[in-house]
């Protein structure tokens, strides 16, 4: 199968196991230009593993990963802590990316609206500023695909909206694809096209308003506002992930 021209990344039937322990089972999805795909799932669901496979820094046990030719990938890691023992300004942190000029740095700092603090030590940045710095670093390579690992972790609501706003702005301006991990569906609702609910396998997928009403989603993520969700065992062999929910009741002991 050939990769469609607008498709940046496609995973087909990807499985990954560590020491005979299956952490990802038969995962397929794709990310196209201008599209935002969000991965949600509980701790230990394999989100980070899937992200590393998408980035190409981890090999699959079976299945295929197709990346469009010569695409540049921008990666925003989860929460970076830089020890005080390293004297590093925000500008110097951004300059660590290979083949970066100071003009490039000014440009991305403008994009994330942080030029005024560029010369401060990076350790003095607040949680929200740090995430914007990491976004700036990801943008330095003029990415075709942005991969974001929990971009709003540990940030207040206002800051979260700001980050999601910036990501959507960049996506619309550069027509890049976005793949991100998030804990909270409600926060990403407005800015995502496709949601994948992951718990080792993809439990359900589709547009956010669709997934929001899916019993599989409650089973996985809970529904704190309305008490404990009732988990129904319902099997289906559907394998079309595009805008269809397919259910397979497995390993959700918490909700049984």
């Amino acid at each position: 199968m050939s990769v469609k021209s607008s498709q940046l990344l496609r995973l087909e039937n990807v499985c990954k196991s560590y020491n005979n322990n299956l952490v990802l089972e038969d995962v397929s999805f794709s990310v196209s230009r201008g599209e935002t795909v969000t991965l949600i799932g509980p701790n230990g669901a394999g989100k980070s593993t899937l992200m590393k496979i998408s980035l190409g820094i981890l090999d699959v046990s079976s299945g295929d990963v197709h990346r469009a030719k010569k695409i540049s990938i921008g990666y925003m890691p989860q929460k970076v802590m830089i020890d005080d023992v390293l004297p590093l300004s925000i500008r110097d942190f951004l300059y660590l990316r290979p083949n970066t000029t100071y003009d490039d740095i000014e440009e991305v700092l403008e994009t994330v609206r942080l030029p005024h603090i560029a010369d401060q030590p990076i350790q003095s940045a607040s949680g929200g500023e740090m995430q914007r710095i990491l976004l700036a670093r990801a943008l330095l390579g003029k990415p075709d695909l942005l991969v974001l690992d929990e971009p709003v972790q540990g940030i207040d609501i206002l800051g979260q909206q700001e980050i999601y706003g910036l990501i959507a702005e960049v996506r619309d301006k550069t027509n890049c694809g976005v793949l991100m991990i998030s804990h909270d569906l409600h926060l990403v609702m407005a800015s995502t096209d496709q949601v994948l609910c992951l718990n080792r396998h993809i439990c359900c997928s589709g547009p956010p308003e669709f997934v929001r009403n899916d019993p599989e989603y409650y089973a996985l993520m809970g529904r704190p506002m309305e008490g404990v969700a009732i988990y129904t065992h319902h099997h289906s062999e559907g394998h079309d992930h595009q805008y269809h929910s397919h259910k397979s009741a497995r390993d959700n002991h918490d909700h049984d």
């Binding site: 820094i57 890691p77 970076v80 023992v85 004297p87 942190f93 290979p98």
Partner: protein, 263 residues
């Protein structure tokens, strides 16, 4: 008139300190102080091997230190043991092998102390050439890899995705430490070599605003410590290695007070 052996000691000490500081900065940033100790302990095994083969060729020492560094990288692939534990196993095994081999050779038993704290006043012209060659080579390699090495230090996965050859750079850095420790052994000894890397780097932290500044200042602090230490040792007849280390400690404390006073 200053004696020739003092001049040799000064030249050797200054050369080693000039490279030990920058390498020590990365050791401090990467929290790898114990790695330096491990390599120093395995250097003693190198000494023992040298005695066993009846050779003073520095290649034996460099080879032994490098082998231990690479062995560590290999063992680190087994995630069941932390680097901490692996370093402990390697350091003490190498040290024990070294001590047993040395103890079996009667003529060297009395000289054990030299390897532990160094014998900087016994450095000859040949030693100067060896140290000089290793220091210049190490400085060139460090100059070539320092930016990617810094990037790995800040965030390994990010560096990898941005195209940095993470594994090659890490191996190069570990080998640099092995090289420098191997030639610094005679200058400052197994017990104190890590101090000459860590303390000037820590002293430089309080004054530096950028990584490059910290590297340069640490070199300077190391060089000042060596000169002061050798002078003190010469004046008051105390062991040279410890005098160098304590000079560095005083510099570190001065830096701290300087910052306090300014704040």
């Amino acid at each position: 008139m200053i004696d020739q052996f003092i001049i040799n000691a000064l030249i050797a000490g200054v050369m080693v300190a000039a490279i030990a500081g920058p390498l020590g900065c990365f050791m401090v940033w990467r929290k790898m102080a114990y790695f330096g100790d491990t390599i120093a302990h395995s250097a003693l095994m190198g000494v023992a091997l040298g005695i066993a083969f009846d050779s003073e060729n520095p290649i034996i020492m460099i080879g032994t230190c490098s082998a231990v560094a690479l062995l560590l990288l290999f063992l680190q692939r087994d995630r069941r043991f932390s680097s901490d534990t692996l370093l402990g196993i390697l350091a003490h095994s190498a040290l024990s092998i070294g001590m047993i081999v040395i103890s079996m050779m009667d003529r060297f038993r009395t000289d054990m102390m030299y390897y532990l704290v160094g014998q900087i006043l016994a450095i000859g012209i040949d030693d100067l050439y060896t140290i000089g060659a290793v220091v210049v080579l190490s400085a060139i390699i460090l100059y070539l890899i320092w930016r990617p090495l810094l990037s790995i230090t800040v965030h390994e996965d990010l560096a990898r995705i941005e195209g940095v050859k993470v594994d090659q750079i890490k191996i190069a850095y570990m080998l640099l430490i092995a090289f420098v420790v191997a030639v610094a052994l005679k200058v400052i000894g197994v017990l104190l070599i890590t101090a000459l890397m860590i303390i000037p780097a820590a002293a430089a932290r309080t004054l530096a605003k950028t990584p490059l500044q910290m590297i340069i200042i640490s070199s300077g602090c190391g060089i000042i410590s060596v000169i002061t230490g050798i002078s003190i040792s010469n004046m008051w007849d105390v062991p040279t290695g410890p005098a160098i280390v304590l000079s560095a400690t005083v510099l570190f404390l001065c830096g701290r007070f300087f910052i306090r006073a300014r704040a």
